[in-house]
Symmetry: C3
Subunit: 420 residues, 3 copies
Amino acid sequence: MAPQYAQSLRFRLPPLLFFLQTGFIVVFIFYVDIEQNVQTKQHAFTNYYSEFQDVHVMVILGFGFLATFLVRYSFSGAGFTLLVAAMAVQWAVILNGVESMYHRGKIWINMRSLVVAEMCTASSLIAIGAVLGKTNPVHLLLIALLEISGFVLNGWLLQTFLKVQFLNTIMLLHIFGAFFGLMLSWVLYRQGSEQQHEKEKIDRKTGLFSVMGTLFLWIFWPSFNSVLVEVDHLDRGRSLRAVYSTYLALAVSAVTAAGFSVLTSPQGKLNLFHIQRCTLAGGVAIGVAMSAVHLPWVAMAIGFAAALISTLGSRYIKPLMLFAFECHDTCGVLSVHGLPGILGWMVQLLLQIADSDDLTTAVRFAVFHICTLLITLSLSMILGIITGFLLKCNFWRPPQNKKFFDDQAFWDFPHLGGKN
Amino acid sequence: MAPQYAQSLRFRLPPLLFFLQTGFIVVFIFYVDIEQNVQTKQHAFTNYYSEFQDVHVMVILGFGFLATFLVRYSFSGAGFTLLVAAMAVQWAVILNGVESMYHRGKIWINMRSLVVAEMCTASSLIAIGAVLGKTNPVHLLLIALLEISGFVLNGWLLQTFLKVQFLNTIMLLHIFGAFFGLMLSWVLYRQGSEQQHEKEKIDRKTGLFSVMGTLFLWIFWPSFNSVLVEVDHLDRGRSLRAVYSTYLALAVSAVTAAGFSVLTSPQGKLNLFHIQRCTLAGGVAIGVAMSAVHLPWVAMAIGFAAALISTLGSRYIKPLMLFAFECHDTCGVLSVHGLPGILGWMVQLLLQIADSDDLTTAVRFAVFHICTLLITLSLSMILGIITGFLLKCNFWRPPQNKKFFDDQAFWDFPHLGGKN
Amino acid sequence: MAPQYAQSLRFRLPPLLFFLQTGFIVVFIFYVDIEQNVQTKQHAFTNYYSEFQDVHVMVILGFGFLATFLVRYSFSGAGFTLLVAAMAVQWAVILNGVESMYHRGKIWINMRSLVVAEMCTASSLIAIGAVLGKTNPVHLLLIALLEISGFVLNGWLLQTFLKVQFLNTIMLLHIFGAFFGLMLSWVLYRQGSEQQHEKEKIDRKTGLFSVMGTLFLWIFWPSFNSVLVEVDHLDRGRSLRAVYSTYLALAVSAVTAAGFSVLTSPQGKLNLFHIQRCTLAGGVAIGVAMSAVHLPWVAMAIGFAAALISTLGSRYIKPLMLFAFECHDTCGVLSVHGLPGILGWMVQLLLQIADSDDLTTAVRFAVFHICTLLITLSLSMILGIITGFLLKCNFWRPPQNKKFFDDQAFWDFPHLGGKN
């Protein structure tokens, strides 16, 4: 079967890539231009560019290498992340510019639009985390494009109808990506997946590569959470607060994840999966709750709680999801992005209510805030299910079960040495 | 024995982590806040934030991956560095803020306090380098907390009684960390360690991971040495000079280390250990001597001398330390941080004396400068010995000799594939 | 033979290193100083320093790890890159400052001179890519010094006689390095090299290390292309346009390289070599064409075309070069730097002609532009051939054929574990 399958990708992937890429270039010819009035924003650029690159490093190196942990799927992990991200940022620039195109006739490229595009891409990479290894690159591209479309639509709905701030809609990327990916994985679920796949393993070296990805995410997360703060507020203080809060939340998160990992292990040992992923839960939760967090200890408490639910989720809910709901979650996106994201949402609700002067404001905020979550959850899950059914179609030549988690289905190694 | 040992960590590490972490959060509730008057420091932030992140990358990725070189201890190398650093920065923020708390009632978090905290953390990671693989994470946490306490105390003593500049006290981190770690390793020495431990080996891949750590340190060292210069002087020129000096010293250091590595090898081959560590000696020495270095060639000469003593130290003094003084130094911190640090101190002394206008100033400076070193050495060695005896206590369940340099004692790999 | 050979390096490499390093320090004593009037350039520093570091990361980590792909040659790949770069930047600083020394009596070190030195180093590392694994470190050092000398001479000729802008001469580094390296490899060609060398292989882990190098280059390339733009123009807009153009060209390049890699593979599989190198072709081409590219879609089209010729070149021209012209190109520098560089040159010509107001300007520009390429090609190829004959000399003890692509000839691993 393998050669047949491989041949078929030849007439699926390149046509799709060239069709999309040509289409994007055509759109860019007619509708996209580089923003000219940068002279006045000279200072802004300076700050932005290095923070933009931090985000860029997180998306390409962080998510890319985090996905290399499977022993036989590391090239795909890093390579497909690059491919998907390169395509997705172009699509995200176009989609995010549709409104500006409608009003001003053009989509403008500037630092902000690229940062936003990278964040949308991050959202799609989270969704892909749930189905990693069980799909082919054609699937991954379609997932990324559909997920980004849904995420941009979600942001537009929230901004237009619920007057949610732009920054707050962007930070829902964790929740949107995670639940989109979970539903997708649920629809794509196949009989027999409840057993551990023989290739779904790590080894010492791929584990270490993915620790590197984790560390890139961990180190640059303060930039991820703070880069867009200034845009809306032009107040450096808020941006700095976002940096400090994220930094502290992540530090506490790393300590707490290690603690619960050892505590919940019968042998009292650290679990690599927890150290790799649950250490990041604090960054997710604080990102969502950011606008309401003013004190450093609150950020630390959020980091503690996020790492707690993330570790317990990885330990107990992930296997439950597989057996009870037939939903296999390769990278554990529910525990790493889904649950901490909802925790962040909840903390934001509580803090805003506590900060409110009168009951009316509080109730009003609570209603809007709950609607925000419900819309995001429904949209992500519905679109995840639709995408799943779309991808089930045999036209896309999904990989056979026994080719899951295997680079060999997609990569040609003429110079590969030995039996490695 | 293994399961017994592993079980015991379950009731040592998590309680310690939760106790410390809860304690830190409580301290943050009452005494720590984010500095508000950032509006006026808008420009400073810009510079600082990206240099802060360079330091952050050095501490987490640089030191973390430098410690992955042991073939069976790489997860511990990277993972424990993250855990220790996450805990240590919080402790360092608190300790460094004690004086401000006394005077202004609060500990203020700003870019500078985080950078200083990262540097204290770097100091503790250097100390840990001497005992890497021979300790458990509980030990490492205690070492880090005690080392940082000692280092902050040392800085306070020097500033208060000898009027040493803040920047100069911080740069003693290499000397303090190295001698603290050496004494610690001496006290923890066990019979039988004079033979090469069967697991104290590198392989091609872990060697390459640790080369990556080296390169992160090598690349970002100019930021490490320059980031705090501006704080004290508000003169961009001095900060730039620190950048150029460090850059040149490191370049010369890399060339020189390679030269002496080949020259002292009977087969005329490069030694990976020298390339990984002695290339960094120039950064250490120039960091300590910084305030007295004004000409680029002086920086280059320091880089040359530092790499020379570092390479010769690794080749000849390291085995001597083991056999003669029963002191096993896993990462060679004496040759990499200790000796080059003292070289830097000596160069600073000579340059300051040469720069002095009259004899009185020169003698006065020399006396103060010698006292600075003596205090730092005594304090670090005494505290290292005390910490060592504290850790010898069986309560902390030290790993057995045969579990040295082995991830398996601490990490649980349910998905680990093959025999890797 | 092996011990004999290894012994001989002991009396070749260290004397060369110490002679050169001492020489450089002596030159620095008499002629080099740090630029003092930085107060007025305060703002420039801020931008520069973080972009300088991006370039630094690309040269050391990007090129270094890209060269680790050979299964038995990874230490040499990363280690020799560091050694060569550390030496080459010093030489480049001196050479680039000769003119300033002539006029102002001193060579001044500032951010710009270091960035330019790093770019010259990048040029020499490209040349080295063609002969990687078939040379010893003494060769590599000589190649780097001669290549940089030639490249600086080429820039000086073009600026002096053809009035080419400084930025445009620097960006020819890809073309100069690639053709220098190709000629070198042609001269050094040995009988028997037409068969695949048994050690010229990758494995999963070294492949992944070099993907990491690729990603560092891919992520930071916008800084590489934009950092020197501002120098000549003091117009932030142009620098920003360079960032956006490079970013878009690289994104399209990654997508296109993947598409053509699958399309030209009989099994419809991705080729790691293409993903590692051809994804970067867009950055090369846009770098050369930069000054004429004003619209984002043009950048994207350049990225598409560059990845196309790069992928086809790797697939079809690389084997042809080996069989027909007896030129073995380890890293495929012709397809990755040479051809995309010439494409960029051609696009610049076409765009400039299209932008010209009248025929005279257009013809004039075309003549100058064609001369630029001809001079660069001739000089690089002639110098490559001369360098090749110089290195053929047995005095430098070239490695035997069977020691090609093997770390063991140069590295001493006392602690190396197992059979890895």
